[in-house]
Symmetry: C2
Subunit: 341 residues, 2 copies
């Protein structure tokens, strides 16, 4: 938690310090899934472009975002790129190119790097993304990867965090809490009672090989359906708070409606706490004007309405499954901690 708060403070500080520098080339900068740039010209001859450029950058750090004893090299490579692609999905954009900065400590084998590259490039190929460059360095400690993804969106159409208005419905793709539940399994030490407590990747592949919701994002963008959007990398409570903050509104969420992931063997539905606060699900959280209809599935992915946007600048959790005096409590963002070594 302290970490997340420190990160937030750091981003806020940079945002303040950098705020004087916003030029016409930047439609939105720090504070969205991607920066949106209008690169319509060179020198003084700036031209109007039909396309905006999306840029996102995400660290994957050993011991913070992955562990070599829990995640196969292919999984680390896949997750590394998926983080960036999911940010492009969160804007309704289309990815074009990726850049990888990779710093390796001396103890990493050739085979690890090859398998990491295979995992990353397989996902890149699936989405027609070119690995177009990067940087390589020696790391003083642990594997450090920074992925940059460049994408495009039609001019003015990228779905920002700031477009939600009171009355909008709140929707989420897929299911929540699964990735955090998978981490809980991985963290359990094997015991005599439960000698195989580690999670078999087969029993929740989405943690190891998350599929960014690019197709859903693109359809929402193309059809002009979403008023605001974010990917759920930090957890529902935190990511919804980002939309509320950037849009200057509040929200009411119905806990009975939150689609919870099923994890393990046999599969169990995850606790509400994990669905509310667990990160790295890489689903899409978006808002829709009440006049618009959203199908039950988009591109084969289930879409669930979980609440609505309110004028009051707070987020409340209700439980519609309970009787009239349903419990109603404020939902505060819980920073998502990944895990510790």
């Amino acid at each position: 938690m302290a970490k997340i708060l420190a990160e937030k403070a750091l981003i806020a500080r940079f945002r303040r310090l950098a705020k004087g520098g916003r030029t016409p080339a930047i439609r939105t900068g720090i504070g969205d899934d991607c920066a949106v740039l209008r690169l319509g010209g060179f020198g003084s001859k700036r031209r109007k472009s039909a396309t905006e450029t999306l840029v996102t950058t995400d660290f994957s750090l050993e011991g913070i975002h992955f562990r070599r004893d829990w995640h196969s090299p292919e999984s680390v490579g896949h997750r590394c790129l998926a983080r960036g692609l999911s940010d492009i999905a969160g804007m309704g954009g289309e990815p074009a190119a990726a850049f990888l900065s990779l710093a390796l400590p001396r103890d990493v084998s050739q085979s690890w790097v090859n398998r990491f590259a295979q995992g990353l490039l397989k996902l890149a190929e699936k989405h027609s993304v070119t690995l177009a460059g990067g940087d390589a360095a020696e790391s003083p400690d642990g594997i450090l990867a920074d992925i940059i993804v460049i994408g495009t969106a039609p001019a003015g159409k990228a779905i920002l965090r700031s477009g939600a208005r009171p009355g909008d419905g709140i929707y989420v793709t897929g299911e929540l809490g699964g990735s955090a539940a998978a981490l809980q399994y991985l963290q359990k030490r094997p015991s005599q009672k439960n000698p195989k407590s580690k999670l078999n990747p087969r029993h929740y592949p989405r943690h190891f090989f998350p599929e960014p919701r690019l197709e859903v994002g693109r359809i929402l963008c193309k059809k002009g359906l979403a008023s605001a959007m974010i990917d759920t990398s930090d957890g529902l409570s935190t990511d919804l708070a980002h939309i509320c903050e950037e849009s200057g509104i509040g929200a009411e969420i119905d806990s009975a409606k939150i689609p919870r992931a099923k994890v393990g063997n046999p599969a169990h539905e995850v606790d509400l706490e994990l669905a509310l606060h667990g990160g790295e699900d890489y689903e899409l959280l978006f808002t829709v004007r009440s006049s618009k209809r959203i199908p039950a599935k988009i591109a084969g992915i289930p879409i669930t309405k979980i609440g609505h946007i309110t004028r009051k600048k707070k987020i409340f959790l209700i439980d519609s499954a309970k009787n009239a005096r349903a419990s109603r409590s404020e939902l505060r963002p819980h920073g998502w901690e990944h895990f510790r070594k």
Copy 2:
């Protein structure tokens, strides 16, 4: 050296693995100062754009690229961005936006981060570059920064490493070896004989606050003067080898003509070895068709002709200051090691 070779091998491996993925959107990828993207459309509607997008990414890692006891926070911030801007300069491009991924260990103070940001943002402002986004994380060990700079160049005009032809003259801006000499001063332990062996930043500010040669690069691009270009971040011998490799040619360099930096107090001209192999000077190394004239200064920066491109795919060092049978030896790229903790 091992490190640099390992990095080269890593980049080469990614290049091979990624080579199938080159799409029409990528004019040049891994293997130049920047990737050059044509982001002229969204979805299937790709349009021809008057502008190309340049993307570069560079790590600045504590203990590899800087040390907190040698470099002030402002210097670390400035150098971090300068690395990326220099890559844009090396393509003749114009920078538009920067992204910073920053991972900090717990022992870094607020004040350090503020001063780091000030150093970075001062340089950004000087070149009208917006800090448009980034990522923040906790670092398991040491400060890790990855800077991404996005720039533009007129379509088809970015100066690649691959355009040099036999007969072209080889030119360099400013002076070489100064940054490596400054590091040598910093590495010397104070002794009884020489209690103040550390370098005062005043006596070679370009090591601490290198100025990327953006204006020179832009003029070379605009006037179509350079056939190939690279920034000298890895040292003359390595960077010239990159041009030779990408262009499929060789070179002959005159050691007597290499402009050597003057460092220290009193200032001494650096050794030839440092001018040949020392990195992080962030000058521009470029080639020019023999029919073209290059002025002695561009944008106030001295330009020196140091040799010419040859058909034979090797690099030779000659010494024109010596008599007829001037020594002629093969110049092999020496990997630039930065320094070790």
